[in-house]
Amino acid sequence: MNLRRLWAVARKEFIHIVRDWRSLIMAIAIPVILVLLFGYALTMDLKDVPTVVWDQSRTTRSRDFLSLVQGSPYFALKGYYDNYRQLQQDLDSGKAMIAMVIPHDFAEGVMSGRPVTVQVVADGSDANTARLALSYAVSLGMIYSQQVTIKQVALQGSGSRIVPVELVPRVWYNADLRSQNTIVPGIIAVVMVVVASMLTSITVAKEWELGTMEQLISTPVRVPELVTGKVIPYFVIGMLDVAVAAAMGQWLFDVPLRGSPGLLFGVSAVFLVGALFYGMLLSIGLKTQVLANQAALISGFLPALMLSGFVFAIENMPAVIRVLTYIIPARYFIALLRGIYLKGVGLEVMWLNGLLLSIYALIMVVAAHRKLKLKLE
């Protein structure tokens, strides 16, 4: 490899990017937009679920219970009714997602220690939210019963006799279970896949389309000089994007970075190399800009989003799909990022992920070099 020629190609590519302000904006703006979009919209935490109530009991006890519901951050009481018809109307129109019916013997039941049933109806058309809301509602019910029990025991004055077994759950790595903490590391992967494959997928195809390739291959330029030279500017942009995404995670979303920042950028660089050369490979093979770009987006972005464990847990996928996830490099990258961000661990634990990621990058580099022929057909 001749460094002079490598640098000539890289510099030329830099000029192309700088002169075409649209591509430059895309390269910088798209990551920012993606981080904002996913960071704010893709939150799985539940807040203020609109709730309507039919309190048949209308007693202090039932109001106690409702104030507990009202007081929790998860539910927001939007209406009080005295018939099923209105409850159903609100659920139908989407004004409410949860409807609660407190039975008329609620107070009596609580006082006498009989089991009481509060009916909770959830709008199941959004299954995820409904499931979460229901589980919160169940927890609320348990808390209320506990309070009641403790009061009863206190009244009876014989506390030591019936203390129920208490579970004290503690979540490691993400103590308050903020989904942003798990999502932001994932976004870095998605952003890089999108930016890398989009940028490089057009570069070689463009030269074929414009006819500049014919002139170029008549010169002494060699394959590695051309391929690597073209990747260098995009690598710089890609690392810049990683920095932007990491900075936004740090200061905008308050995601803790517990591991080494050096390692974060290191594995990002490895992943970026793989993604950039993958884009090159498509560009070389497909020879048209539109096709290569589309192929890069669909084959890069969708798997990184769906099959990497970014949004959907890999453990819950059907066996066939789970096998498929092993060939998605973003899977290993996201695992690494979450390890670095949330667990603060390094390669001593995640060496296998690191190794697989490096192998992927190596395969892409070699494949892109092999695929490019400095000949016309």
Binding site: N2, R5, A8, I15, H16, P220
Partner: protein, 645 residues
């Protein structure tokens, strides 16, 4: 490699694409300091041959060596030794002139030390110095070609391979380009050039004629000319088309061809035929003309050889229905009329207060160097671009306010053919028919007309991508006039086409004009300018001359032009140029044209100079200047004015 080994050595080179043999058993040698011209019709295999020599395409069989290195097994060394210039513009439009040159200098490993000087030299040589900082995308066609040459020459190559480098380049830039090439020959570079200009072929040391992938003949131009069994009679006049048609009637057996203002008749009995022509033309009272016996040009040889091989690539337009010789009923108003038409882009005025009138049914030629504003002007006339000021009318509609009505009433064919390659011939015609609102029997009629006119009978279902250049050109024109517009605008319709296709295309233009259609055409082929009824010449957005071809050659061009016939004119150009009696000299076909003030003084000065250097001189005579002389001298006068101001 020793000094006597050929720089280019091609033996039995063959390239097979599936069914098609693009190049078959090519053999040729080119030595250092020699220039070899590759001519032939579109699709003959010129580009494929050059690509194989450049080591960017694998031959199927055969061997090609560049400076002793095999192009397949020693590709790296070959690439260090050559400079190749592809037919398509191969540089980066978003890089400046300087950045493009630097990029190539780095690729070729030109040392940074002393590089500036080499670049400055090349830029000066190509007159590109002032444009160093300009982006390549904003250069005119001629400058782009020169820049590509400069980039290719940044390392001094052993072999220079050029694929139709002067396509779409105006005559002035073309001269500059060839001046650079001759300079290189002096430095011992071997050059192979494919060209569609046969006057360029005249200037090569040796020429090869390629047809259907086979080299029919090769040799020095003078030898090739001796291969012609016939002799050439030329009839020069101001009505060449008319004379051509008359001569064709009385001499159907002889091969007659139209070259600019001359009709060439190839005959074995020149005396008898000359008498016959004289009798005919006197009887018809066609005005001034002259009949002469002249040595054949390479183009005569080319036309003759192609006729022998039966390489007719399309039907003639004769069957396209009876010509309405008197044309459509004239409305008496001009087809195009513009007054002080102006268009600016920012601070740059592309078209500057242009005024002219085109009468109905005329063939109106629009000439000017690359970047003079021709395309901008045509786009305004076609309603595609709003003028900044001034005004005018096309087909009776106002160009400022009635653009949509204009589009309905004109046909427009741009340099880039508007055909869809992945549609068949018929589907393309159907598409344009649909756009112009033709349906039912109207569409069927025009479709059969279009197919006959473009000579594509029986190939209606062929993919357009498979058609050769000449066919595509004619089909594109047929599609542009499907709705029978009274005015047709053709923007460099024949750019890059081979001489036979170009000639057939002009037959179509004449056909349309005979039917009363007004044809507005731009071209860089000066012999095509001779075919126009009237010409306007623009430079830097301004009209610099206007009139019939004859008026331009006599009234506008006041200088005396001498034609010098001698062997190796490219080597004698310097000798002529430095004479004080000669104002300007340039290569022209197989000779030299010298612009002089005093005919007698100049003739004797030239004779003396040749004698003193002991060089053969076959003749010096005053001639009626050709369109190219006119064009070049007008443009150069403007350039000097521009510099003086």
């Amino acid at each position: 490699m020793t000094a006597s080994d050929p720089a280019v050595d091609v033996q039995g080179l063959t390239k097979q694409f599936d069914e098609l043999t693009a190049v078959r058993d090519l053999n040729l040698q080119v030595h250092a300091g020699e220039i070899f011209g590759l001519v032939g019709p579109d699709g003959a295999g010129k580009t494929t041959s050059l690509r194989m020599m450049a080591g960017i395409m694998e031959p199927s069989t055969g061997v090609a060596r560049i400076a002793g290195c095999d192009v397949v097994t020693q590709t790296t060394r070959v690439k260090d030794a050559i400079a190749y210039m592809s037919q398509k513009f191969g540089l980066y439009v978003d890089l400046t002139v300087e950045e493009n040159i630097d990029f190539y200098a780095d690729l070729y490993g030109v040392p940074r030390k002393g590089r500036r000087k080499q670049i400055e030299k090349l830029l000066d040589f190509s007159a590109m110095g002032p444009f160093k900082k300009r982006r390549a995308g904003f250069l005119s066609g001629g400058m782009k070609q020169k820049l590509q040459l400069v980039c290719a020459l940044i390392h001094t190559p052993t072999v220079l391979l050029l694929d139709e480098p002067t396509n779409g380049v105006d005559p002035v830039s073309r001269r500059d380009f060839w001046r650079i090439l001759y300079g290189l020959l002096g430095e011992g570079v071997a050059i192979v050039v494919a060209t569609a200009y046969l006057d360029e072929a005249e200037r090569c040391n040796r020429v090869g004629l390629l047809n259907s992938g086979e080299l029919l003949v090769q040799g020095p131009p003078s030898e090739l000319k001796q291969l012609m069994p016939e002799q050439i009679l030329t009839v020069q006049s101001s009505k060449p088309r008319m004379i051509y048609n008359l001569v064709r009637e009385i001499l159907p057996d002889q091969r007659n061809t139209l070259f600019g203002d001359r009709v060439h008749v190839a005959t074995k009995e020149p005396k008898k035929v000359a008498q016959k022509i004289n009798d005919l033309l006197n009887a018809k009272a066609v005005g001034e003309y002259s009949v002469k016996m002249e040595p054949p040009t390479i183009e005569d040889v080319f036309v003759g050889m192609m006729a022998d091989t039966g390489a007719e690539d399309g039907g003639s337009s004769d069957e396209a229905g009876p010509a309405r010789v008197n044309g459509a009923p004239s409305t008496g108003r001009p087809a195009v009329q513009v007054e002080k038409l102006t268009r600016s882009f920012g601070s740059f005025t592309a078209v500057d207060r242009i005024s002219f009138t085109v009468p109905e049914g005329q063939i109106f030629g629009f000439l000017g160097p690359n970047g003079a504003g021709k395309s901008t002007c045509i786009r305004m006339l076609c309603g595609l671009l709003q003028p900044s000021s001034g005004g005018g009318s096309v087909a009776g509609y106002d160009i400022m306010t009635q653009a949509e009505s204009i589009k309905q009433n004109i046909g427009y064919m741009s340099q880039k053919f508007s055909l869809y390659d992945d549609l068949t011939v018929e589907e393309n015609i159907d598409f344009y028919g649909g756009i112009y609102g033709l349906t039912g029997s109207g569409l069927a009629d025009r479709k059969s007309w279009a197919i006959t006119m473009s000579g594509l009978n029986g190939r209606q279902r062929s993919m357009t991508s498979l058609l050769s250049g000449g066919w595509k050109q004619r089909l594109a024109m047929a599609c542009a006039v499907l709705h029978e517009p009274p005015i047709v605008f053709l923007d460099e319709p024949t750019s890059g086409a081979d001489p036979l296709s170009r000639r057939r295309f002009w037959d179509l233009i004449y056909d349309m004009a005979d039917r009363g259609v007004t044809v507005f055409v731009t071209t860089h082929y000066m012999e095509e300018a001779e075919y126009c009824d009237r010409l306007v010449m623009i430079y830097s957005g301004k009209v610099i001359a206007m009139g019939t071809p004859r008026e331009l050659k006599t009234a506008v061009m006041k200088d005396t032009v001498l034609h010098i016939t001698c062997p190796h004119p490219q080597d004698r150009l310097g000798l002529v140029e430095q004479l004080p009696a000669v104002r300007e000299a340039a290569l022209f076909g197989a000779g030299i044209h010298a612009v002089v003030d005093d005919e007698h003084a100049a003739v004797s000065a030239i004779r003396n100079a040749f004698e003193k250097e002991r060089r053969r001189l076959d003749g010096v005579e005053k001639i009626v200047p050709g369109m190219e002389d006119v064009f070049v001298s007008l443009v150069e006068a403007e350039q000097q004015n521009g510099e003086a101001v």
